[in-house]
Point group: C2
Chain length 112, copies 2
């Protein structure tokens, strides 16, 4: 993950929910998708990922169920709830607004 880490920090939930907006998925697969999308620049630490799943499920934003693989390691699939869709939309809106704001704050002001 080299760079990026600090900025992505705090957006764990939004990234996970974005994946679940497309389809039910499971931890390992979501993390593979993130690695692939970032060209290897970022990946979740496992502890971070599973902590987030528990947090989101306990708050009612996602639900989980065991996959019925008859081969390979078992998978716990997650599904986004209507409540989670709302959260996702709010997080995206926040991101958009806040990215614009940060863009203004992070560069030095002209001297007065």
């Amino acid at each position: 993950m080299s760079i990026a880490s600090d900025v992505i920090r705090g957006h764990t939930d939004a990234i996970i929910l974005a994946q679940l907006m497309a389809e039910d998925s499971y931890g390992y697969k979501i993390n593979r998708a993130v690695v692939e999308k970032t060209g290897g620049l970022f990946e979740f630490k496992e502890a971070t990922l599973y902590t987030a799943f528990r947090r989101l499920e306990q708050s009612g934003y996602i639900t989980s169920y065991w996959g019925d693989e008859n081969t390979g390691a078992r998978r716990r699939y997650y599904s986004i709830t209507p409540y989670g869709v709302e959260l996702y939309q709010r997080l995206v809106a926040e991101w958009e607004q806040s990215a614009a704001i940060l863009q203004r704050l992070i560069y030095p002001p002209k001297q007065s």
Copy 2:
């Protein structure tokens, strides 16, 4: 600060350093500048701000000195060090790269 809070979280150092890149300044003034630049959407909690100052100073990124006001409350001015300039540049570069990455991660992928 209503919205924004989560996204700005983690960029305290970069925002402070950006201000100090322009000129030496002090806590209260930096926070006023932030409020003004964001149209009132965001401001630092004082504890967050002063915690950050201490962290940055202990790490050698900024130095401080007391202003010589002969009126009004005393001010502790902060000055960015060469080491701090380096950090600032690194943080900005990270922000730019990471904002682009997040932009890709935060929207749902097309179903395959």
